[in-house]
């Protein structure tokens, strides 16, 4: 049975541009949310998601139906976000907020900052990781910790993905607690 995405893609490829709006409606929220995890800013997240939809439109013929449409769409989006962010200044400034949280133990962090601010600091630190580790962390949690889907979206082997996730955690641990394993 064809999904709504299959139908819309076939119609767009057949020349009915307006059917692309159905795809935008269904996927705008996930794509904006994914972009937000990269930039932590609503307006910039919308700009990035818009670029991702345009790229998706231009590359629609490249979608091989053996992959789910969502998996292909997310991989296009991640590649757009990555290349757009490469052009921007390094987001290391985001780490500035974490200076206050740097300490020798997680208990001390608990004492210093409230839960909401701590969570936001961690999310910003993830967004400021080098792309090699940032993308796996963001997509893995965005995909509800589904290793197989994350690997497909990023075009990585599961073993490589696990190694990068592990390394990303080590970097974050070092940033926040000063500990290295």
């Amino acid at each position: 049975m064809l999904s709504a995405d299959d139908d819309d893609v076939a119609a767009v490829l057949g020349g009915d541009l307006e059917r692309f709006e159905g795809i935008v409606h269904r996927w705008q929220r996930p794509l904006v949310n994914l972009a937000y995890r990269y930039v932590r800013d609503h307006a910039r997240a919308e700009d990035l998601a818009q670029e991702a939809f345009l790229k998706c439109f231009r590359s629609l013929r490249q979608w091989r139906r053996e992959a789910q449409f969502s998996t292909w769409l997310f991989s296009v989006a991640v590649s757009v976000y990555r290349s757009r962010l490469r052009r921007l200044e390094p987001v290391l400034a985001l780490l500035d907020d974490n200076e206050a949280t740097k300490d020798s133990s997680a208990e001390t962090i608990d004492d210093r900052i409230d839960e909401g601010r701590r969570a936001e600091s961690i999310r910003r630190a993830v967004a400021a990781l080098p792309p090699l580790y940032r993308d796996p962390m963001i997509v893995f949690y965005f995909q509800d910790e589904d290793l197989a889907t994350t690997a497909k979206v990023l075009g990585l082997r599961e073993g490589t993905l696990k190694a990068r996730l592990h390394r990303a955690r080590e970097i974050l641990r070092a940033v926040f607690t000063g500990e290295t394993k």
Partner: protein, 104 residues
Amino acid sequence: MTSFDRLLDDALKARESIEPGAYFSKRVMARLRGEVELPPIAFPFWRIAAGLASLAICIIAGLTGDSNPAPFLPGPRAFALIAAAGGSLVIAVATIELRQRRRP
């Protein structure tokens, strides 16, 4: 699992609900229509041909040219290199332009 791992998991698992603006899809569709309404670009045959010819002539000039007769002027080899770079640039620009205007 350490307490830091728990903190990390809790922070990243939490669903942040970012709603796209009310006109988000309209804006995407407007940009898309604008892109589609651009006149179709002709294959930049002459630009690519000129670039390739420039490359070929300059490679030949570079390989067969005499040594530099006047040190203060660019010699044939330097000239060939500059022109070859120019030729490559013309081809690259034409290719990028084609890629950017590609449609489904």
